[in-house]
């Protein structure tokens, strides 16, 4: 048996802003090759001098930190090691090497509704699930009403779980997850549940928790939309190593690129995009760094194409403060043909906006829309948008994304 030198420690230090610290984490699994999950198989393997397993390294020297209030997205293709990482953070698996420090109460949701039993009532299941997550009955009493209210299942809680519809079961499980009173919430692929109304509710909840600086969320997901929408930071894991630790946009783009390469190489027998045909992607501003509503935002994009393919550029204007996409635009209708250097201009009228800071992301895609290259964070220019017509304007109206152009008139009859 190999010696474990990995450790996972839990502390509770409210003064320390680092809630999770991962230092040099590695993990491998022994995958049985011959049948070694029975005594007979093991004995045979032993006699024949076969190890009976193959060592597979799933995580290699992972390092990262999570600060209090972060909404961290972890993305990566299937089998990249995300879930293993999450399970180690949650203390389900043992770290083989390295050191993990968890500061605060971590509530893991590797799966929703762990321990749910169809023969128990909704209420009993909530308390059982709570006890598995480490809550006492008293703590659960305090949370119970909120959970049931959020799940909208007030009338069903004394029914057995087997009489719930599957949507209702998931709603209940999900409500426990997001109403659980912990400092650090760990969620694995659990977002898309319930009907549209419930989705909207969850969306509101996540936007709220994103602003809450005392709660930390770690979210494993394949939805780049979710990453862009909720996360303030993201990590891309590929083959057990942290490839990118940066902005959600950066990670989301890189992930899309990774998937596009994968699907391409499958389609064409592999290899085409090993050497990326797009080189020297540059995004330049043809307008000043700070502009007002009177100016036009002008962006110039240049890139070299080394293969005979049709390409187009896509631009995302990202509101940095609000973590939202403002405008998406692309040149798909007028693609660039063939090899050579390409140069494109994009102009944007931003006069509808209120004050904000904007980062300009750019990606180059082939005609199917698969991403070929994108601008990294450090190469993506940012601009400052400041209006100069805010006279007598109410502060509330300038907080919104759009500038207030509405008019109003008063139809109330004058009584005097």
């Amino acid at each position: 048996m190999k010696k474990i030198i990995g450790t996972r420690i839990e502390v509770n230090d409210p003064n320390n802003d680092t809630v999770i610290k991962v230092d040099g984490l590695s993990k491998s699994f022994k995958l049985p090759t011959e049948r070694s999950d029975s005594l007979k198989g093991s004995v045979f393997n032993f006699i024949r001098g076969i190890k009976g397993y193959k060592k597979q390294t799933v995580l290699k020297n992972i390092n990262f930190e999570v600060k209090r209030g972060d909404f961290l997205g972890i993305v990566g293709r299937n089998g990249s090691g995300k879930s293993t990482l999450l399970k180690i953070l949650a203390g389900v698996y043992y770290p083989e090497k390295g050191r993990i420090t968890v500061n605060g109460n971590l509530i893991p949701f590797i799966e929703l509704g762990v321990g749910f039993n169809p023969e128990l009532t909704g209420r009993e299941n909530v308390y059982l699930n709570g006890s598995l997550l480490g809550f006492s009955n008293k703590e659960m009493d305090a949370m119970y009403d909120e959970i049931v209210e959020f799940a909208e299942l007030e009338d069903f809680m004394d029914q057995k779980l087997k009489n719930f519809s599957s949507g209702m079961q998931v709603r209940l499980a999900f409500s426990i997850a997001i109403k659980a009173q912990g400092d650090i919430l760990v969620l694995d692929e659990v977002l898309a549940v319930g009907d549209e109304a419930f989705q909207t509710k969850c969306n509101q909840f996540f936007n709220k928790i994103k602003k809450d600086k005392t709660k930390t969320v770690i979210l494993v997901t394949h939805s780049m939309e979710n990453v862009r929408q909720y996360c303030n930071r993201a990590i891309l894991i590929r083959d057990g190593i942290v490839k990118i630790d940066g902005s959600p946009e950066d990670v989301a783009n890189s992930y899309s690129l990774e998937n596009a390469e994968r699907s391409k190489s499958n389609k064409n027998g592999g290899g085409i995009f090993k050497d990326n045909p797009i080189k020297n992607l540059k995004v330049k501003l043809d307008s000043p760094k700070q502009i007002s509503q009177k100016d036009t935002l002008k962006i110039n994009i240049t890139y070299d194409v080394e293969e005979n393919i049709n390409t187009f550029a896509a631009i995302t204007l990202w509101d940095i403060a609000r973590s939202q996409t403002l405008i998406n635009s692309n040149s798909r209708n007028k693609p660039c043909k063939g090899k050579g250097q390409k140069s494109l201009s994009f102009n944007f009228d931003l006069s509808a906006l209120n004050d904000t800071n904007i980062r300009i992301y750019c990606s180059v895609r082939d005609i199917d829309g698969s991403i070929l290259s994108y601008s990294l964070d450090e190469l993506s220019p940012t601009i400052v948008f400041r209006r100069d017509d805010y006279e007598n304007m109410n502060k509330k109206t300038t907080d919104a994304i759009l500038f207030n152009r509405g008019e109003y008139s008063n139809h109330e009859k004058n009584r005097s």
Binding site: M1, K87, P108, L120, F135
Partner: protein, 270 residues
């Protein structure tokens, strides 16, 4: 394993919730429900009583033989239920172990606690039968819990040890089933130990060194009749007398160490 950690509030809550759930679910959907906790051993007893006491005429010289037999079968079902549930516990609860981090021993203990609850219910029946059968209440009844703890400790030790191995090698469940069958005949439950003693004292002594036999004979001695042959009054050598206790302690210590060492990998292997 430090004691405050083992008994901290979080773990106690989890243990009681899991045990409650187990117990609630056991007789879920049956018409008689919890009554089966009583009916099953009583029916088993009826069968054994008819076959061994009435047809084969065992135990003619033992006073209160039906209660004597009932005590034995009750304790035996407790032991088998405890161990088989305990050994299987980690596999049955694999779903939880794979997804949530909590001390794994809780799963084993909660599975065996259901057996303890069943046994305590049955014990009440045994006492009622004993009183009906004319057994005189005696101060030695107070010693019975000691033997129950002893038997439970042994069952728990076996559950930890074999349960930990069973996570990886599921053969253990089948092997233990066979062992249980063999042990059933190695322990004087249906046959009185006097039957063995009359042919070979050495064989009787060997039987009595088995901790299960020692505990069950003690319970019969303290509860029903002081004419019962026990390890203490039949085996004379002091070291042989305490050998059953030593065996139990060794199993428990070894099981605890082994279980703790392996528990880190249960989530990966189960």
């Amino acid at each position: 394993m430090n004691i405050p950690h083992v008994l901290n509030k979080k773990n106690r809550v989890l243990l009681s919730e899991l045990t409650k759930t187990d117990f609630k679910l056991r007789y879920q959907g049956s018409v008689l429900g919890y009554l089966w906790a009583l009916l099953r051993p009583l029916m088993m007893f009826a069968i054994l009583y008819i076959v061994f006491a009435k047809l084969l005429r065992f135990g003619g010289d033992i006073p209160h033989y039906p209660v004597y037999l009932l005590t034995g079968t009750t304790m035996w079902s407790f032991f088998t239920e405890c161990t088989s549930q305990g050994i299987q516990a980690m596999v049955v609860r694999g779903d939880l172990i794979r997804k949530i981090s909590f001390p794994k021993y809780i799963v084993v203990v909660s599975a065996t606690l259901t057996a303890v609850i069943n046994m305590l219910i049955n014990l009440v029946v045994v006492v009622i039968f004993a009183l009906i059968n004319g057994v005189e209440p005696s101060w030695t009844w107070l010693l019975v819990p000691l033997s129950l703890v002893e038997l439970y400790t042994l069952a728990l030790g076996i559950s930890f040890l074999l349960g930990a191995i069973n996570v990886k090698y599921r053969d253990i469940t089948s092997i233990w089933d066979v062992c249980i069958q063999a042990l059933f005949y190695a322990v004087p439950i249906i046959y009185p130990i006097t039957m063995v003693a009359s042919t070979s004292t050495i064989a009787a002594k060997i039987i009595l060194i088995n901790p299960i036999a020692q505990a069950i004979q003690d319970i019969r001695y303290n509860l029903i009749t002081h004419e019962t042959i026990t390890t203490w009054n039949y085996v004379s050598n002091f070291w042989l007398q305490i050998l059953p206790i030593i065996i139990i302690v060794l199993i428990l210590v070894f099981a605890t160490i082994y279980f703790r060492k392996k528990s880190k990998y249960f989530a990966e292997n189960v």
